[in-house]
């Protein structure tokens, strides 16, 4: 009996001690977590800055930072930007983020997903502003009342990449539609994202224009992001429709070549859409507007126009500015 009591008291003491320890650990952990996030984001920004910035970008970044003493922190400082992996992976957004944050005092939180999920986050009010590239879905999003105005502000080009052998002679085609016809006719392996992303939607639209319903062993629907699909295309020596930035970033490993680039039907337009507060009352409308205003301003133009020229010898994005 006595031993049992002693055991119970001991168990209680140990239990209490563990609870105290856990409680002490909790704030410590959350603090550590927040510190490490800031560190990582700072590291990412620093990395992409060194990788891709030129004098122009550094200038743009420094000017507002110097005057940051004058910047008052907004009442609701967190802006959640839902975007697609292609913009984020190119390294452009982290550069823009740094300048935006230092010149306005906002804290931009970038959430990168496929276009389907990126738009869904706007519908559910889990994002304040979108930066996406799928015209039809964007218009449906705005028409359904989830978004304010659709602002197409920059573009780049998809490219058709493939093995150097170019089995379907895509390089001889004048545009993407005839290239897709040639690929289908020769039954050369083609990797489709198959994930409802903006790139996937653009690809499906091209098949439709070409009058081809892609199916069969040659048409591989991979259901993965751009990078993994490019790796797969390299492994399978297949054709693939890709954004240029991701292609350039992975071409050393994939050994794919651009078979067709910069034809009019490969144009890829990026838009900004603020989430409509009528549907989702909690969203940060001022913050979303501040981000849009920044993206349409001259410092953003300088960064976008210049981005990639140093690393790849050519710009990755073409700035269109505010639609008149």
């Amino acid at each position: 009996m006595k031993t049992k009591q002693i055991f119970i008291t001991r168990a209680r003491k140990t239990g209490a001690l563990m609870v105290v320890l856990l409680l002490a650990l909790l704030p410590a952990c959350s603090q550590a977590a927040s510190v490490s996030t800031t560190n990582t984001s700072a590291a990412v920004t620093a990395q992409s800055t060194t990788a891709a910035t030129t004098a122009a970008v550094t200038d743009a970044a420094l000017t507002p930072a110097e005057t940051s003493a004058a910047v008052t922190k907004p009442a609701n400082p967190v802006v959640r930007l839902s975007t697609t992996t292609s913009v984020n992976d190119s390294g452009l957004l982290p550069v823009l983020e740094k300048v935006f944050e230092s010149s306005t005092g906002y804290d931009l939180q970038i959430i990168a997903n496929g276009t389907g999920a990126a738009i869904k986050l706007g519908e559910s009010g889990d994002a304040d502003v979108l930066l996406v590239h799928a015209k039809a879905s964007e218009e449906a999003f705005v028409d359904a009342g989830y978004g304010m105005e659709r602002i197409p502000f920059m573009h780049n080009y998809f490219v058709i990449a493939g093995a150097a052998a170019d089995k379907a002679k895509v390089a001889d085609c004048k545009d993407a539609i005839s290239a897709f016809k040639a690929i289908a006719a020769s039954q050369a392996t083609f990797i489709s994202r198959g994930d409802d992303s903006g790139t996937n939607k653009a690809e499906l639209a091209l098949w439709k224009s070409a009058g081809v319903t892609p199916s069969g062993d040659w048409y591989v629907s991979a259901g993965k992001g751009m990078g993994p699909c490019l790796t797969m295309a390299g492994e399978m020596q297949a054709y693939i429709l890709t954004d240029k930035a991701t292609y350039l970033a992975t071409k050393a490993q994939t050994e794919l070549v651009i078979c067709l680039g910069e034809s009019d039907d490969l144009k890829n337009t990026y838009s900004l859409i603020a989430v409509n507060p009528d549907k989702n009352p909690g969203v940060n409308t001022q913050g979303a507007q501040a981000w849009i205003d920044f993206m349409l301003s001259d410092p953003a133009r300088a960064i976008i126009t210049d981005f990639g020229t140093k690393e790849y010898g050519e710009p990755l994005f073409f700035y269109d500015g505010a639609p008149s």
Binding site: G116, A117, G194, D196, K224, E235
Partner: protein, 227 residues
């Protein structure tokens, strides 16, 4: 399959795509669990019976491999089977065999280690009986395994569960190709990335139902044996 309801409608109506995914999942799971059990059971039995220098170290290594991150196993198999890899000429990347190989690497240590533990816990009692029978060595191992069949069923189910729920390695070496290497877990990831959260949840439920059925069948056998 874009909404919660549509997945169950596809399930009920025998929709080709969903059943292809289910079929591939079952096929992959049976193969990888099967190979792991066929090799892991004997390995565990032999390890339990023998004593040799370095046995403790070997045991620690196998136990460590139980926690092998799937992406690491995936990466290893990917590099092995890649076009420029040592086994690239087999052209196995992005196929069912590649997925089975990667999962085997993950499940074999689990099966071996758990078998070893299951046998060791009852070995003394069994060994006394076995040694009086004067059986050849391989029959001893078989008898040892047979005597532990109750706990070994749990080992099989653990391996099965790992195979069924695993996504990192199969995504990497299988590639989530529609109709060829798309299994339940990679389909769930895909629907999530598309923003079809309802469909993803529904697929998750279908996967759970599948796992539940397997457990019901396995337990039925176990109880039948105990009776």
């Amino acid at each position: 399959m874009t909404t919660f309801e549509s997945v169950f409608a596809a399930f009920a109506s025998g929709d080709g795509e969903l059943y292809k995914i289910l079929g591939l999942t079952v096929c992959m799971t049976l193969l990888s669990t099967g190979f792991s059990v066929l090799t892991g059971f004997p390995a565990g039995a032999v390890l339990a019976s023998l004593s040799f220098p370095g046995k403790k170290l070997l045991r620690r290594i196998i136990q460590t491999c139980m926690g092998l991150p799937p992406v690491v196993a995936g990466l290893f198999v990917f590099l092995l089977l890649s076009r420029r890899g040592p086994m690239g000429s087999l052209q196995l990347l992005f196929s069912l065999p590649a997925m089975v190989i990667a999962q085997f690497i993950l499940i074999f240590p689990i099966v071996t280690s758990l078998t070893l533990a299951a046998i060791e816990s009852r070995q003394k009692a069994i060994n006394q009986t076995i040694s009086t029978l004067g059986l050849p060595r391989y029959k001893k191992y078989l008898l040892l395994l047979w005597e532990c069949r109750g706990s070994l069923l749990t080992v099989v189910l653990t391996g099965f569960g790992r195979s069924l729920s695993e996504v990192g390695a199969v995504m990497m070496v299988g590639g989530n190709i529609q109709g060829k290497t798309r299994v339940m877990t990679t389909a769930i990831m895909l629907e999530t990335s598309k923003g079809n959260f309802g469909a993803a949840i529904a697929l998750g439920l279908v996967l759970l139902i599948l796992a539940f059925l397997v457990n019901v069948i396995a337990n039925h056998f176990q109880e039948a044996q105990n009776d």
